[in-house]
Every structure is written in structure tokens, then in C-alpha cells.
Amino acid sequence: MSTNTATLPVGRYAYDQIDRTFLSQRVAQFREQVNRRIAGHLTEDEFKPLRLMNGLYLQLHAYMLRVAIPYGMLGADQMRALAHIARTYDRDYGHFTTRQNMQFNWIRLEDTPDILERLADVDMHAIQTSGNCIRNVTCDEFAGAAADELLDPRIHAEILRQWSTLHPEFAFLPRKFKIAISGSPQDRVAARFHDIGLVARPGPQGRPVFDVFVGGGLGRTPIIGVLLRDNLPEEDLVAYLEAIVRVYNAYGRRDNMYKARIKILVQALGVETFREKVDAEFALMNRADYRLEPDIVAGIRARFGIPALDAPADAADTLAAGRKADPAFDRWVRTNTHPHRHPGFTSVVISIKPDGGIPGDVTADQMDVIADLADGWSFGEIRVTHMQNVVLGHVRKDRLHELWRRLVAAGLGTPNIGLVGDIIACPGLDYCSLANARSIPIAQKLSARFASPELQERIGRLHINISGCINACGHHHAGHIGILGVDKRGEEFFQLTLGGSAGNDVAIGQIIGPALPEDETVDAIARLIDAYLVLRTEGEQFIDTYRRLGAASFKDAVYASA
């Protein structure tokens, strides 16, 4: 279809009337299902799969609605709609998740159809944010902006979204299925910890090719994904992924949910056998039906609004002068910005981790502030990161100081990205019905303990990840320091892992010893960090020191008082 480029939303895919009709019909369908449930015509067992297909869980205190943010991209108008939902239907809060989605924790079943209708008004939904299907495809939070990017991954993320949405073969897979895509040589999407991880780059004649990793994941059985195929041509992307998911659908275990993910299948068959089966399926397919021709890709690309990047020649000089004059601003620029492909611009990471705060939680008012700042500073475009922060992708360098002042005034100016205060934490036992222990209070105490920006910078890059149960929503296996909540006769204990990483140096953290009681955990981690500061050599980050020395030195510190 033709598109009016003047009105395209920057950074995200523009819906057309077909998309909107589909969403509207879907809301009407769910409204009818809710009515039938309330009237008693559907049992909970009958209704549960229907509500889960619309992102509605029953959690510890109430229903929880998970709203899809495709590959983490949303517009200011959409953020304002989320603020409205938080204010009207929740308790003034929303929560950014590690899947680049947003969750609301205090939703009423009765209100859910109205909420979905409000979402549909701004081209949003909650479809496939739950259930055993292909979930929201995640991608690099700096997509289309990063200086090191080789290829904008959002176009192919959108193609995969369209392919996987209500795919008739893949609506009831053995388990949930997660895909991430990166177009940068620096893995910022944890590609090797996904069911399928795609790393894209330009190939022959400039057409994209993909390295395909499969069978990675965290949870009960953490496994690093294996390279199944390199240099996959763009035209075969959908066909090859369909072949992978078909093999998984056919052979994945359905008798044991703990062994149902594709990572278990890949390990059980062996990589070579799994590859043979995928290749055999791929060979049988009529690839012409799936072929991504350049004009198809161009059609998708054409529906993404592109920012008009235009900055004064002295924008960088203005920024440099501002940094020199204001040390607090200088520190924030050091920690919370990322190099942009245009010399006059930068990408800004807004920390959703205030000192002592709840990682990922934002108030309705803060959502409105972020929307206003996106309109004023970044073409109305917002990105949600898998680290539970928010990115404004394209900010002019000479306007950065004023943006920072606005962020500080809204309580959104914490300078801690990549540092010890930038903790990933799942909702844990404060909200989640699966959790064994609380994650948030540990995150809050650690964040408050290391609140000093000077101390955080001195400690350097350090990723702390906290999960309230073995399902690992806080990605604890991938943290430099991972914290896993465990239940011992109804009381909370915490097990520490060290040495995990989700980046190019991918690694699974190793358990260092017995789990600690809740009231000893934060002190133990503080001793561990103190030990690192003593043990490190010049220029080392925590992960370097750990890899050089191993766990023994840290173990002594952790269990010093035990």
C-alpha cells in the first residue's frame, strides 16, 4: 500500500486500516469472552487460555496485564495511553519488563476489554504476550541510531512480528518461544540466551545476512545458544525460521513443561541432528511462498518514520562546554548516553532505577514526562530496553543539557547505566504468583547502599541481576553477580552466582555456595564488591577480576561472617 511519509510515526511501524480492524475485532471477541466468564458460561479452566492469549494473568494480588511493545519501540502518544491506563485502571504505576514490554499489576477483569480498546486506539495490544507461542520479538534499544550498527534490525523484527502473529501452526507450541535480533557487532540483545537469536549484517550486494543461534535460554536449565546457521540470506529468513519452529513443534516435549523449551530439544537431539532436521524441513518447503523479496522488505521499511537528523555544526562543542561547566551533567553524559551514527546527535538512556527505587517501575506522571520529552527532544520516539530502562534515540547534542535538567526534575536523572545501581529485577514475590522470594527489596537495598555516583563509577561496569525464582525473569544467570531467590519452608533465601554475561563474552554464572538468609544477602554482596575493589588490578572491571581469579576469593568474602 502507499504511505504518506509525512505522517509516519518515527521509529515504529505505521499501522493501516487492516491492522486496526484486526485489533478492533480482537477486542470485541475478548469482550464477549469476558462477559461469558462473568456470567458463568465459561469455567476458569476454559477461560484461562483465552485471557492468557490476551496477556491477562492472575497474579498474587490481582490480574496483571502485559502490554506488547514490539521490539521495544513506542511513540509519545502510545506512552500517554499507557499513562492513562495506569492512572485510570491501575494504581498509578506501570512496570517495564526485560522483554521490552509493560505490565500493569492491579487490573480488574471487568475493565480489561476497555483497556484493550484504549490500547487499540493507539495501535497497541497485548496479543501473544503470554501463552505457548512466539512472544514479542526483542531488539537492540539503539536500533537505527547506534554508531556501531551495521543494519537496522527493526525492519526484520517487524517482518517476524507479522509472520508470527496468530500463525496458525505456532499458536500452541510446546512452550513459549522467544526471538531476539541485533544488527550490531556488539550483542545488546542477549542473542545467545534466546530460543532463536539473530545477528544481522550486510552481505553480498548489501542485502542482509543472518547468523542464527538456537537453543539458548535461562530458567531452570541455563544454556548458551549454538550457531545453527551463518550467512542466512535475507530472502530465506522466514522460511528458515519456520523450519526451525516446525521441527520444535514436532519434536519438542509436551509431556513435561520443564523439558519443553527448544533448548532441551537441541541438547537431546544434539546440534548436528537438530540441524539435519531443520535442513530437511527447509528443503521440503516451497521457498517461493516464503521468499522475502527486496520489494517486500522495502515495503515494510517504508512504513517506518525516519527522523530528520539535522544539527548545528557546533552541537558537539556546545555539549562539551556544558559538560565542562557542570560536573553532575558531565557524569550523567558519561554514564547515560550512547554514541549515535550522526555526529551531532546522541542516544540517551533514561534510568528507571532511582537510588533505592523499584527497577522498571514508572508512575503515570513520569510516563507523561517521558512522552513530553520524547516529543520535545527525540521526534516523539521512545524505546524500552531489556535492562528495564528507557531510551530517547536521537537527541541533539546541543540540547542535551536542557533535557538532563528536565529529567532530574522528574526524578529520572539517575546517572547509573551499566553500573551497580542499574539492577535488573523481576517483580518477585511482591507480585508474582510463581516467585519463591522477593526480588525488589534486595534491589532497593543494594541500590540505596551503592547510591553514591562516585562510588558507582569507581566500582565500574557491574551488572547485578535478581530473580525471585528459578524461572529467571531477572536473568540472574546472565548477571556478573546473579541473585536467585529460593524458598526454604516458606522463608526467603538467596543464592549467588558469579561471572555471568549476556554480551559477546556470553557466560552462565556459577553458584558459589549455599543460599543466604534475606537479612544477610545485601551485606554479603557488599563484602563481595569490597573484595573486588581490593583484588582488581589497574583498568579491570568486576568481570575481568572474577575471570582472572575465579570464585574462591569472592567466596571467602561472601561467607566471611557465616
Binding site: E44, N436, G490
Partner: protein
């Protein structure tokens, strides 16, 4: 049902809980209906919990709630206090938002 929801000792006392269908809120079985306030809950010997749940499930009223189960009480605590951290959080609200604690009212429905 989650095995944790059935984890009770042979002796001791429990209260019975569920989530309300319409809004998902936690409710506690009283002598006359369901309350949002745990202190209103009817205290039952553990030996009688399963039979009481069976009785409740047989009533038309049970359609208004989801996931009925018994919650062991802490015999050493003052007032009606669940034994486990999980159930204390359900009873008294998320520990990180004291303002979200259930409001004590006399409502029973």
C-alpha cells in the same frame, strides 16, 4: 494447584483464601462470606480445611472466586497472620508499597 498452596502441617490452624473473579483481589472466607481483610477470616483446624473447601466449592457462591485454598497460620504471631512470607504478602499487600495494603473494612460479601 501449586503444591505450595497445599503445604500445611497436620496440626495447627488455617484460614481459607481465594481470588475474586471480577477484579482478582484476594479474599478470605469468613463465617458469612468473603472479606478482603484477613483479620476477618474464619480460623479452621487444619484437619478440617479440605472438607471446608469442598463444601465451599459446592455452593453457587464459589463461582465468584478462583483458586480456593487453605493458608496455615503462624501460631506465635499476634492476630491472624499467615506462616509463610508468600501468604503474609498476599494478606498484607506488597512489601514495597505499604500504601497498597488492603484497607480494613467491615465489608463481607
Amino acid at each position: 494447584m501449586d503444591v505450595r498452596n497445599n503445604r500445611r502441617d497436620l496440626t495447627g490452624t488455617s484460614v481459607i483464601t481465594a481470588n475474586r473473579l471480577l477484579d482478582g483481589r484476594i479474599v478470605w472466607l469468613t463465617g458469612t462470606g468473603w472479606s478482603e481483610t484477613v483479620s476477618h477470616a474464619r480460623i479452621i483446624d487444619n484437619a478440617d480445611v479440605e472438607a471446608t473447601i469442598k463444601q465451599i466449592r459446592a455452593t453457587p457462591d464459589a463461582r465468584r472466586v478462583i483458586g480456593i485454598y487453605g493458608v496455615q497460620l503462624d501460631p506465635t504471631a499476634a492476630g491472624v497472620t499467615p506462616l509463610t512470607v508468600r501468604e503474609r504478602i498476599r494478606a498484607f499487600g506488597p512489601s514495597v508499597h505499604p500504601e497498597f495494603a488492603p484497607v480494613e473494612t467491615s465489608d463481607v460479601h
